[in-house]
Amino acid sequence: MVISSSRSRATETASTEAQSPAIGLLGWARWIWRQLTSMRTALILLLMLAAAAVPGSIYPQRSADPNGVTTFFDNNPDFAKILDSIQMFDVYTSAWFSAIYILLFISLIGCVIPRTFVHARNLREEPVETPTNLRRMPAFLASNASPETVRDSKQLITSAAELLRKQRYRVAVREGSNGETTVSAERGYLRETGNLVFHIALLGVLFAVGIGGGYSYNGQRVVVEGETFVNNLAGYDSFSPGAFFKPEMLTPFSMTLDKFEVQFDLQNRTNIGTPLDFRAYVTSRIQNGDGTTTDKKSVIRVNEPLELPGSHVYLTGNGYAPVITIRDKNGDIAFSGPTEYLPQDKNYTSLGVIKVPDGAGPQFGILSFFYPTQDKLTTGARTSIYPDPLDPLLSMNVYIGDLGLDSGQPKNVFELDISKMKQVAGGKSGVKGLEMVPGQTVKLPKDLGTVTFEGIKRFASLDVSYNPGGIWVLFFALLALAGVTLSLTVPRRRVWVAVRDSELQVAALARGDDPALEKIVAEISAELTGDKSKSSKESDD
C-alpha cells in the first residue's frame, strides 16, 4: 500500500487480474495476499476506515462520554440496544473498526517489506542504462551541436557527468555497444526512503499506542482545600487501568491541596465572569530511594500539569465545597465537613447532596443549592449571577425516609434517591426551604436538629495519568511526518545526456509529479552548450 507515486508505471495492480483455472490452496493464499497488499485494496481500506470512524462522532462513546451513553439509553432504550449490539458506543475498539485497521496494517506490511528490499537494491545499483530513444521521455531537449562537439563528444559527456554529480545525482557513464558514450543519472532516492520510513513509522505509532495503552493508567480524585490525596488505588474516586497495569506500578507520593485560586474577569464589559485562570497550590511529598521524603510546593494550572515521578497530575475541574455541620436534636454532630457541590452553570450555581443516616431521629437527606453571588429571577427562583462568592447563599430541601444505604449497593454520593422519601422542607411540602449565609445556623424541620453553614472552601478535580507509550507515539509520529514530507516533496528523477544525430540530447523522467522537470532539462542543456538563451525545444509533453 505504499504510494508508488508513479502514474506512468502501471505495474501496481496488474497482478490482480491474474486468473488461472486450477491454482490450489497455496495459489489461493498467494492470490489473497496479492489482493490484500495491492494498492487498490489499501485505498479502499483507507476510505472504509474514514467512513467507519464517523459513527463514533455521532453517537456518544463509552470511552469519551460515558454519561452521554447512559442518557442515550434512557432516552431511546430500544434503539440503544440495537446500536449497542453492533458496538456503536465502542466504535474505536469494536470488532469491525479493528478489523479494518488490522487489515490495513497487514496490507501495509505486505507492501513495505518487498519494497524495502527493492529500494535497498536500488540504492546500491548504478542508474539505469540510457534508452535508445530519448525523444520519448516526458522532458526532452535537443540542441544543435557544433561539428567539433560531435567529434569530441566524450569531452561533452564527461562535463555532463561532472555537472550532474555536482547537482548530487548518482551518475554512470557508459559506453554502449555501438560505441557511443552516454550519461545516465538519478537522484531523489530519499523520496522512496521517506515513503518507507513513513509507513514503518505508522506501524511504530500503532505499537506504541497499543503497548503504551496497556501499561497506562489514569485516575480521578476530587480534593478539597486542606485535604491530602495519597497515590494508591483507595485514594481515587475513579480509576481506569490499562490491560497490563499492576497496583505496584503506582509511584508512592501524596499531595495536599493547600489553596485553590480562581480569577474571573470583572474588568472587561463583554467578558464579565469569564474565567481567566485556575490555580491549584499543592504540596507534594515524594518518597526518595533511601526512605526519606521530599516536600515540593508547586502550582497546577489547566495547561500546566505537575510532573511527578511516574505520573502527571492535571487540573480538570473545580467547584465549591461549603463547610456544613448538622447537629441532631440532642446537639450531637451528625454530619460535618466540607461537601463538594457540583457546578451547574458558568456562574457556579452548584448542587450538593447531604445524607444523614445516623442522627438521633429518622434518616434524612438534603438536596442543596449553593449560589456564590445570589440573585432572584422574576419567577422567584434563585440563581447565581457571578462565579466568585460575593454574596453567597446556601439553600436546602429536606427529605425524610429510607436513604437506601443499607442495601449494600454502592450509591452515587451526588444523587439522592427520593423514591422512598418524603419532602419535609422546600417545594410543595408546605414548609419553606432552608436558606442561610456563611456563619448562620438554622433549625431543621420535624425536630431533626440544626444546620450550620460554617464557611466556603473550594475543591479541585485532579486527574493523575501515566502513559509510558506517549513519548514513543510522538517519536514515531514525528518520524512519519518527516518521512511523508520527504516522500511528497523530494523529486525523484532520471536524467540522460547523449550526443546523437549531431545533437546534444538531454532527457528526464520523473517518478510522480515533478513540476521542475522541463526546467531541469533546459538548464542542463544550456549549461553544457554554454548557451543560456536559446535552445530548440522539442518535447512531447
Partner: protein
C-alpha cells in the same frame, strides 16, 4: 496573575474594516466574473475588453486583502492575543490566509482563473462570519491559554487554505471532464463550456490540485500531531476520540486515500478529484456542523 485587558473599541473598528473589505471583495468578485464571461464570449471585441476587468479585479482583490489583513491584526491587538480563538476569528483569519496564498501563487498564470472562486468564497466566508458567527472580543478560557493555540490552530488554518484552493481546482477538473456537460445542447451549457475551456488543461488542473493537496496534507499531519501534544498537556491524554479528533482523523484518512488514489491505476483523474472534494467537504463539515452541533471538548465557537 493573568491580566487581560480587552480593547472593545478597537474590535469594533476591526469589524468596520471587515465590512469595508467585504465591499471591495464584492467589486473584485464582480470584476473577475465579468472577466470570465467576456473571455467566454463568442465575439472578438467583447473578449478584447476582458483583461481590463481582470486588472481591475486584481487591484480590488489586493486592496481588499490589505484591509482584511488590517482587520485581522486589529482583532488580535484588541484581544491581546492571536486572532483565532473562536469560529468568527478562525474564519476571519483563515479566509485572509486563502487570499494571501492566492496572491502569492498568482505568479503562476494557471492559478489566476480561480480568482472568481477565491473572491467569492472569501466574501461568503466573511458574510457568514460577521452575520451568524460573530462574537464580541473575549479573553481566552484557561484551556486555550497555551502557545499551542498559536501553532496548532495556525497550521490548521494554513492546511485548510491549501485544501480549499486544491478543491477549487478539483471542481474545475470535474467540470472539464464531465461528459454530460460536453454533450449538453442548451445554450447556457455552451457558455459554461466556453468558460471552462478557458481554464488550464485537465492534466494541469489535476497536477495543480495535487500540489496544493500535498502541502495541505503535510500541514494537516502536523496539525494532528500538534493537537495530540496539546491534548496531552490540557486533557491528560494525547488522543481520546473527541468528536473533533475523530474528524481530524477522518480528514487525514480521506486525503491519505487521495494520495494513494493518485498512484493507483483506475483511480487517478475523476475519482481522485472526487476524493479531493470529499476531503474538503469533510473539512467544512468539521468546521461548521461539528463545531456547532456535536458534543465534545473542542467547544470554542463562542456561540451559545
Amino acid at each position: 496573575m493573568t491580566n487581560m485587558q480587552l480593547n472593545e473599541g478597537l474590535s469594533q473598528i476591526s469589524l468596520l474594516v471587515v465590512y469595508g473589505a467585504m465591499a471591495i471583495y464584492t467589486f473584485s468578485f464582480l470584476a473577475f466574473a465579468t472577466n470570465l464571461s467576456r473571455l467566454a464570449s463568442n465575439k472578438d471585441e467583447t473578449r478584447a475588453t476582458a483583461s481590463g476587468a481582470e486588472k481591475f479585479g486584481t487591484v480590488m482583490l489586493i486592496l481588499a486583502g490589505i484591509l482584511h489583513g488590517v482587520a485581522v491584526a486589529l482583532r488580535g491587538i484588541s484581544a491581546n492575543r492571536v486572532p483565532w480563538a473562536n469560529m468568527y476569528e478562525f474564519t476571519l483569519t483563515g479566509s485572509f490566509i486563502v487570499v494571501a496564498i492566492y496572491l502569492i501563487a498568482m505568479r503562476l498564470k494557471d492559478v489566476r482563473l480561480i480568482a472568481t472562486f477565491i473572491s467569492g468564497v472569501t466574501l461568503l466566508a466573511l458574510g457568514l462570519a460577521t452575520s451568524i458567527w460573530y462574537v464580541q472580543v473575549k479573553t481566552l478560557m484557561p484551556a486555550l491559554q497555551s502557545y499551542w493555540l498559536v501553532i496548532h490552530v495556525l497550521v490548521a488554518v494554513l492546511a485548510t487554505a491549501f485544501f480549499n484552493i486544491a478543491a477549487a481546482f478539483s471542481v474545475v477538473y470535474l467540470l472539464r471532464s464531465a461528459n454530460w456537460l460536453t454533450k449538453a445542447k442548451a445554450s447556457i451549457f455552451g457558455f459554461a463550456r466556453r468558460v471552462i475551456d478557458l481554464f488550464p488543461t485537465s492534466d494541469k488542473l489535476e497536477k495543480l490540485a495535487y500540489r496544493f493537496n500535498i502541502i495541505g496534507f503535510i500541514l494537516w499531519s502536523f496539525t494532528l500531531i500538534a493537537g495530540a501534544i496539546w491534548a496531552e498537556r490540557a486533557w491528560h491524554r494525547y488522543w481520546g476520540w473527541d468528536t473533533k479528533e475523530v474528524w481530524t482523523f477522518i480528514i487525514w484518512t480521506i486525503y491519505a486515500g487521495y494520495l494513494h488514489a493518485n498512484a493507483t491505476r483506475g483511480w487517478t483523474g475523476k475519482r481522485s478529484a472526487w476524493l479531493s472534494l470529499v476531503g474538503f467537504v469533510a473539512i467544512l463539515f468539521n468546521f461548521t456542523i461539528v463545531n456547532l452541533f456535536f458534543k465534545g471538548l473542542h467547544v470554542y465557537s463562542g456561540l451559545k
